[in-house]
Structure formats: C-alpha cells, structure tokens
Symmetry: C2
Subunit: 196 residues, 2 copies
Amino acid sequence: MPDTSSLSSLIEALRRLPGVGAKSAARMAFHLMQHDREGAVLLARSLEGAARAVKHCQRCHTFTESDICNTCLDTNRDASQLCVVETPADQAAMERTGAYKGLYFVLMGKISPLDGVGPKEIGIERLLARVAEPQVREVILATNFTAEGEATAHILAHMLKSRGIQVTRLSRGVPIGSELEYVDLGTIAHALEDRR
Amino acid sequence: MPDTSSLSSLIEALRRLPGVGAKSAARMAFHLMQHDREGAVLLARSLEGAARAVKHCQRCHTFTESDICNTCLDTNRDASQLCVVETPADQAAMERTGAYKGLYFVLMGKISPLDGVGPKEIGIERLLARVAEPQVREVILATNFTAEGEATAHILAHMLKSRGIQVTRLSRGVPIGSELEYVDLGTIAHALEDRR
C-alpha cells in the first residue's frame, strides 16, 4: 500500500486478529477505507466498548458485564449440576440445545502442557472452590473431544474424583444423522465401547 | 455468547470485515477479550486514525494522507507514462517489481455492469481529465486479468483511443517459472497469439 502510515498501522493491527495474514489484513483495510468507513468507526467503538465493559463472572468465569452473570443469577436453574466447558462459545452451544438446566464453569482455555498451560493456569483452584459448595452434586465435563480437551477432562476428573465429587463426561458416539460408512473409525470404536 | 451486549455488538461489527462470518467473528472477539485486550484497543485506535486521516490523492486517487500522494509529487518519475490499476494493492505490486518509473491512476474499483458499476462510477471523467494533460504520452492498462478487469481495460482502451491517446496493456502470457504442462490452456493460447 502507498504512503499512508495510518493505513499501514491499521493493516498491522488487523493482523492481530486470529487467522488474519498480511493479504487478508490489506484487503480488510482497503474494504473499510474504500467502501465502509462507517463500519470502521463502528468497529472501533465496539472494540473500545467491549475492552472496557467485558469482564469475567465471579462464579462461572464466563464473559459478562456484571459481577455475576445472568446464568449464575438465574434461580430457576438446577444448582446441583455444574457443566465444565472450555469457552463461552461452547457454553452457548450447550445452551442452544435446550437440554441442560444446570449451571456452568467456563475454563476459558484447556490444559495444554506444550503451551505451558497446566491445571493452575485454567483456574483449577477456582473450580475446586466452586464444586466444594454443598449444593453441587454432579460435575459434567463438557470439554471438547480433541486431544487437549480429552486430556483436560481426564485431569479434571482425576482431581475432582479424589475429592469425592461425582464426575460425568458427555458421551462419545456416532453423531445424529450420520451414516456409519462415513463416520471415522475411532468414533465407531468408541460408540461400540460405550454402547448402552 | 452469554449476556454481554458489548460482546454481541463487537461480534456484529467484526462481521462487517470482508470474509468474516459469524463463527470467525465470535472467535476473533473471544481471542481479543481473553488474550489480547491491548490488541483490541490498538485496533480500535488504528481504525479511528485511518478513518480520520486516509483520503484520496487528488491526482491519482490512491490512498494518501496528503492532498497529493508522494508518488505523484516525485519529480524523478516519468510523467509521460500513466499506469491504470484497480486498487492501491495492485499499485503496490507494480511498485515492488521496480520495473516501472511512471505515474499511476488508481480506479479504486473495476467496471462491473452486474453490480451497477459503469465507467462513470470508477471515475472515468477524472481519468480523461488526467490523460488530457499534455505530458502524458502513454496510458498502460494494468487492470487485473479477470473477466471484469479485462472488460474494464477494453472499455477504457476504447474511450482513450477515441481521444487519440496511445494505450497499451500488460502482456498476457506464461508466468515466469511455470511449466507448460501445468499452465491453463487459455493462458497458453494467449501466449501463442501474443508471441514476440
């Protein structure tokens, strides 16, 4: 791009977004400057607003703008169940099912030894304090079914069970609507093992 | 995502970036809020700075922060040649070759009848006024070799030639470093036709 330092700065700043490389950043900057300056200003204000207002719920650690999030404050929810998820997006997916009425604990990450993220870094102390509250009867581990998500679930299960807490895990199995022929073999093997 | 209106606004605003859908926008917002608030604030400031400072060069219409861009002001450049490109990114690519020492005219778009973009919308009047200046001897059409870029070149060539201006087009041909076996047939056919 030509001699505009503010445009170069914008392209540099856009590259901090995950999945955005040099060419995408230049394309985004060009689009905003040429076709959507209003969008650029709106995005700037949204970024500033979110950076200022968004904090973590003191109970479940999800994103919220209050001290305690609406889900944790909802007295209609079943306080005996605590579902552990990796991110607010995973929590949102659980909510969209409409099949869960308990509370959450959001790790805001996953255990990943290669990245130096251990139980301490994902707030295991806060989770242990939370599950120590007397109303919690069951902890449902809903971390992702990836290598790191499975490892996280494994480690958390070990630590929670050793404190006498009932721990369950989302079942592995064949996704609804799929044909066995097209399902990966590991999934079929797990579905066979966990048959009911 | 949970009950944070500023986070929802941020996700909505990120979707205005080209190529960013709902899931990418949520992932970007999550990343910025959880891991890079400094980046969020930096991006906000860059967006505001660029939206305020970036304007169009009064001569070549590229992005600049002055009235006339540095390229147009450079008296060492050959004012007898005017290269017409679609975008500042294309101009930057031409500059990186180091093979062109003339001036530019940046269309900031391309003729695209299906999108209602005709010669008028890409500033044909400004281009005609620019090439009417006596020092311009040759207009080099360097629009892209896509259907719309070719159509743009074709229409511009027609309008410029009818005013007695010498018009050339970047040559079509086989890219440097490629093997004929892997080059598409249309390109080989054009390279044969334009052989020299």
